[in-house]
């Protein structure tokens, strides 16, 4: 019967690789939690943002109010947002998921609207001339042409969410953030460094993948560009 415990780990090193080796399962679990949280928020965000944006692009009077509301939601610092919900939804995943979804809305709505706006009037004319109207026109002509801009927005939203998830560790839901807090409580740098690096790495990978998707969805040279 051997010891379950390895030799101890270094508290002062920025990364103690033997700890990383011994804890790959835990690291992957936290990584998966992180991806799930960000991914779900993104999905729900899209589900809400697309109809909202379509509405705003059709009825322009609604655009400013919608952008104002989503803008306010975006401005609220994440810890405050989680704290708002805590008394009502407790230490559950919803307390993290709802604010995260709300954060994605501004970016997504904005980009969907811009994408729809950028559909050249000639194309819309031609479509009408061919008998398209209403929903069919939306689904078959306008949204597809808006896809590159939408993906650009999804890129920004995805990366933003990945960066925000760690804060949810303060209410028990943080994916890689939980690793950061755990390391901190033991004066142990390695988990914090590893978690931080993984957050950035995840963002880089997701960003690159979505960029590739964006390019794939753009067979024509003209495309809308999101800056910063």
């Amino acid at each position: 019967m051997g010891s379950v415990l390895a030799a101890g780990y270094s508290g002062s090193a920025w990364i103690d690789w033997s700890w990383v080796n011994d804890h790959t399962t835990e690291i992957l679990t936290r990584l998966r939690e992180h991806v799930v949280l960000a991914g779900l928020a993104l999905l729900y965000g899209l589900i809400i943002a697309v109809p909202l944006a379509v509405l705003a692009s059709r009825k322009r009077r609604l655009l400013a109010p919608i952008l104002s509301v989503t803008g306010v939601l975006y401005t609220i610092p994440s810890l405050a947002a989680f704290a708002f919900l805590l008394p009502f939804t407790g230490l559950s995943r919803e307390t993290a998921l709802i604010p995260l979804t709300a954060y994605s809305l501004l970016i997504l709505v904005r980009n969907v609207v811009t994408g729809l706006d950028a559909v050249p009037p000639e194309v819309v004319e031609a479509a009408r001339g061919m008998g398209y109207s209403g929903t069919r026109q939306l689904l078959r002509i306008e949204l597809p042409l808006a896809v590159p801009t939408i993906i650009a927005g999804v890129r920004i939203a995805a990366v933003t969410l990945i960066g925000l998830v760690p804060v949810a560790a303060l209410i028990g839901q943080g994916g890689l953030g939980a690793m950061m807090l755990d390391g901190f409580q033991r004066s142990f740098r390695t988990p914090i460094t590893v978690a931080g690096v993984l957050v950035i790495a995840l963002a880089v990978v997701v960003d690159a993948a979505l960029l590739a998707l964006q390019r794939l969805a753009t067979p024509w040279t003209w495309r809308a560009r999101s800056i910063a």
């Binding site: 390895a6 101890g8 804890h23 991914g39 779900l40 999905l43 230490l91 078959r140 597809p144 993906i151």
Partner: protein
């Protein structure tokens, strides 16, 4: 021309949508972390329990020890770790978000409005009285982990500090650092402490749960008096514990607090065995492995159970 654009555009949209939905649906099927479970007695094998833990090393070791001992006997355990102080975790228990967690009986009794003593048995009896009918606490372990007021040796020498009583006249010149909930806790700087000692400091800083923020603050002089846990914080060799001469700190022994609806005598039996092995010396050793050697509470608990034949 429009037609081919539509087709490729539609294709793009469809591809993106399908890819996203599938990827996210797959990810969403992932669930939160689960613990290991060995096959065991039939009574246990389909019982699921959620084990929560408080937010510092000692408590995490306890919760892990209880959870793993149960898992070894066939229970299906999932963990919700590092939830917070008693206020949060106890509430989670009442809500049914968790089924059991590792607690300290003096702290819990005080939280529930009771008065613990320095005696393990009487404190336990008082706790059982104060607990609501739907929550039970198991027999306490021998180990003790209480609030300790610590100063640097240089400070102790300068002001001739040995006991908490000797601190009282000097306190207004000193800065204190402790947990964020300290001033609401009778056993920290709350009402009971005020009645017994009446410590009034020049400044009270809200730091962390006897962790690195507090120890660093003590080391570099940001605070002169720090609140650390006698059993599970890192106590450096140049720290001096001010003796609790008036007996403010109670018998704060580990107990498992369980929802009555899931409690069985089998579960109690398993936990009692764990607590029977949990002496102060053992507890200390485990806590320092977590704090100093950076071991995981999970692994430390596993080794402890193995050493005592409980897993």
């Amino acid at each position: 021309m429009t037609k081919s654009r539509t087709r490729s555009g539609k294709h793009a949209l469809a591809t993106v949508a399908v890819a996203l939905v599938i990827a996210l649906a797959l990810a969403a099927c992932g669930s939160s972390s689960s613990g290991k479970a060995k096959s065991g007695s039939s009574a246990a094998s389909n019982t699921k329990l959620v084990v929560g833990s408080k937010n510092f090393g000692g408590a995490q070791i306890l919760s892990q020890a209880y959870g793993q001992a149960l898992a070894a006997k066939g229970y299906k355990i999932t963990y919700r770790d590092n939830l917070g102080a008693t206020e949060i975790v106890y509430k989670a228990l009442q809500n049914g978000d968790i089924d059991l967690y590792g607690e300290y009986q003096g702290t819990l009794l005080t939280y529930l409005g009771g008065t613990p003593t320095a005696d393990r048995q009487t404190t336990y009896a008082a706790l059982q009285q104060k607990l609501p009918s739907d929550i039970v606490a198991t027999t306490p372990a021998e180990a003790v982990d209480v609030n300790g007021f610590y100063v640097l040796k240089s400070t102790a020498d300068k002001y001739h500090l040995t006991t908490l009583s000797s601190l009282v006249p000097v306190a207004p010149q000193l800065v204190f650092g402790g947990t964020p909930e300290c001033q609401d806790r009778p056993l920290c700087l709350g009402t009971k402490e005020q009645q017994l000692y009446g410590l009034h400091f020049k400044d009270v800083k809200k730091l962390d749960e006897g962790g690195p923020v507090t120890t660093k603050a003590l080391d570099d002089g940001t605070i002169q008096v720090g609140l650390l846990f006698t059993g599970s914080s890192v106590i450096k060799s140049n720290y001096v514990l001010l003796t609790d001469d008036k007996g403010l700190q109670p018998a704060d022994n580990p107990v498992a607090v369980i929802r009555k609806s899931v409690d069985t005598s089998a579960i109690n039996g398993i936990i009692d065995k764990v607590n029977a092995a949990m002496t102060t010396a053992e507890y200390n050793k485990l806590a320092l492995q977590v704090q100093n050697e950076k071991q995981d509470p999970k692994d430390v608990a596993a080794q402890f159970l193995k050493d005592h034949g409980l897993a």
